[in-house]
Amino acid sequence: MSEIRMREALRDAMAEEMRRDPDVFVMGEDVGVFQGAFKVTEGLLDEFGEKRVRDTPISENTIVGTGVGAAMAGLRPVVELMTVNFSLLALDQIVNHAAAIPYMFNGNVRVPMVIRMPGGGGHQLGPTHSHSFEALYLQVPGLLVACPSTPADAKALLKAAIRDDNPVVFIEHESLYGIKGEVPDGDDVIQRFGEAAIRCEGSDVTIVGILKMAHVAEKAAAELEDKHGISAEVIDPRTLRPLDLDTILESVRKTNRAVIVEEGWPHGGVGANLSTLITEQAFDYLDAPVQRVTGADVPMPYSRRMEQAAIPHEENVIEAALATTEGAFPRERQD
């Protein structure tokens, strides 16, 4: 175990996989000489050279499409898009090509590639650099979608993504790049897709959170315990496709209440989807309607006050959890 930052964990994952497999290469805008817009690819150019760490022009759709073509011919590209907002310029290649090709050509060709993209708000970058599009990619059959919240998961999931034969949309959160965490040593620690993590066990309410919201959910859970005597179970799905619905349903059957926290927009969101799945499959176990805590239904504003108001915080999660437990538990701890 060693304590490293999320960006280092991601970099180590790429470096280790590049050492292991000569077909793995990295390309994207400013991933080489500049060392990555968020310094995630720092040091890779020095170690692997320009053939395997390729700076590209600003041409998102072609960067991804070139990756798809290279993957069809058997290479394993790791494409970095500078932000999830910019990934919209590459939606055609991601959805119409990367995701569709294996199926539309009946499995006669595969697209083993990873498309990394950081997103999320909190840095006053306004309405074109701060969004969360997990729900958008989650919708597309043919893609795998990862959304790690810890350095250990980031590394282990990215290594799995690079080894996997399917196209993977790998969503990172800009605010998490600097967080530190214990990461197991060893080249072969990978995290399989489709296995949720239970961040803390609890019995009264299930809180599901992804990316930065997994941390917000954990903090909210601690406060629920301290101030309200409510025991929350926090689940981080880690991947949205495949989704470990079993773990979530099992938890909901135990707690009978669910809150879903995400930074993305409310309509057609991760929470909307998950709440439907829970309602369809665990309705009889629910003691209260499923609650969603989401980003505000607006393009992300610039003003610090407004931006913070548009992003979910602990108090929003606590409020939602309390709404599900209304009347079932004392609102204040009885000292």
Partner: protein, 387 residues
């Protein structure tokens, strides 16, 4: 407004030896016959969706594939039945794909616009205009990365030369010295919009200038000129590792798709181009030269008839894809992704839909959907063939 048929090249390409002429003639006749029959089968509702025929454009892709190496990559658009056939894909498999059958090139999952044949390095037809250009760069990058001397031929229409992908990919390919021959099949129309109305520069070969690469306009109706010039470009690209742009001037005799009333062009223009029919003019050339005789031509036409009849029979007799296979080939299930939910709505079990359960779950889900499809099919047959 009708346009005169342009003539390019001061000296005509030489007639190659008899074997090559027979091969070129055979392929072009087969493809012409195949496309005519595909049109008929579409009228009978045996083939669904959209159907884009390349009748008139045969010389461009037959000439091109005839000078490609077996290990070169070819990638095309949604008008590529002929490209696959030119590369050697069996007419049976292409027709079966049009019929949506299990034996089709894509098992009935792709259809007319998405023919694919990995063995012949035909890397697919693509339904998004310009969508195949970045893929071509990627295939070429793989060749360069592995230090192979294979070249990718990327064929696309005049309309695609206005897409962002064109600019992005030409720049990237030139910047990275990727071995791609970009070949514009300029048939003068992006769907129903004529080139004068869709491109600021109508000499598309000049679009190469902005990327610092060679661009050349050739007569795409003359299979021998296509052979000669594309061969030159292939070898230049192969030896120098620089991309180039070839604009082949060609013409489609049929509409953009089977559902095209062709209000955007005059009959006289079509007739003018018909006089330059790539197959008839090649036959005249071969007969004049004496390399082929009337019997050879007759034999090529008979063989094309026979192959296409057999392809229709094969497609017709082939089974529909099994409903159990609806979710197959969507993902590769492996150590890193051990399972996926066939459909999250299905009740239990969840992390299951493990490999062995998937076909059964998929079948149940698909059967309800298929009953709708059957109803639609019956309705269609009650109402007769399509317009």
């Amino acid at each position: 407004m009708p346009r005169s048929v342009p003539r390019y090249g001061l000296c005509m390409a030489k007639v190659p030896d008899r074997q090559i002429c027979l091969e070129l003639l055979g392929r072009m006749c087969l493809i012409r016959r195949f496309e005519e029959e595909a049109g008929r089968q579409y009228q009978r509702a045996k083939a669904g969706g959209f159907l884009h025929l390349a009748i008139g454009e045969e010389a461009t892709f037959v000439g091109t594939t005839s000078v490609m190496r077996d290990d070169d990559y070819l990638i095309g658009t949604y008008r590529t039945h002929g490209h696959a056939l030119a590369r050697g894909t069996s007419p049976d498999a292409v027709m079966a794909e049009l019929f949506g059958r299990e034996t089709g090139t894509s098992g009935g999952r792709g259809g007319s616009m998405h023919i694919f044949d990995w063995k012949r390095r035909f890397m697919g037809g693509y339904g998004i205009v310009g969508g195949n250009l970045p893929l071509a760069a990627g295939l070429a990058l793989a060749s360069q990365y592995r230090e192979e001397d294979t070249v990718t031929v990327c064929m696309f229409g005049d309309g695609a030369s206005n897409t962002g992908n064109f600019g992005e990919t030409m720049n990237l390919a030139a910047l990275w010295d990727l071995p791609v021959v970009f070949l514009v099949e300029n048939n003068l129309y992006g769907m129903g919009t004529s080139i004068e109305r869709h491109s600021a520069v109508t000499d598309l070969s000049r679009k190469a200038e902005g990327y610092g690469i060679e661009g050349e306009r050739i007569d795409g109706m003359d299979v021998l000129e296509v052979r000669e010039r594309v061969s030159h470009h292939l070898e230049e690209v192969r030896s120098k590792g620089r991309p180039s742009l070839v604009e082949a001037f060609t013409y489609r005799y049929r509409g953009h798709s089977a559902a095209d009333p062709e209000v955007y062009r005059e009959k006289s223009e079509v007739e003018e181009w018909l006089a330059k029919d790539p197959i008839e003019s090649f036959i005249r050339r071969c007969l004049e030269d004496g390399v082929l005789n009337e019997d050879d031509v007759e034999a090529a036409r008979r063989e094309a008839d026979r192959s296409v009849e057999a392809a229709v029979r094969f497609a017709d007799e082939s089974p529909e894809p099994a409903l159990e296979s609806l979710y197959e080939e969507l993902y590769v299930v492996s150590e890193t992704m051990g399972w996926y939910a066939v459909d999250e709505r299905s009740p239990e079990p969840h992390r299951g839909e493990l490999g062995e359960d998937a076909p059964e779950v998929a079948k149940n889900l698909a059967e309800s959907g298929a009953s709708h499809a059957e109803e639609a099919r019956e309705r269609q047959s009650r109402e007769g063939v399509r317009e």
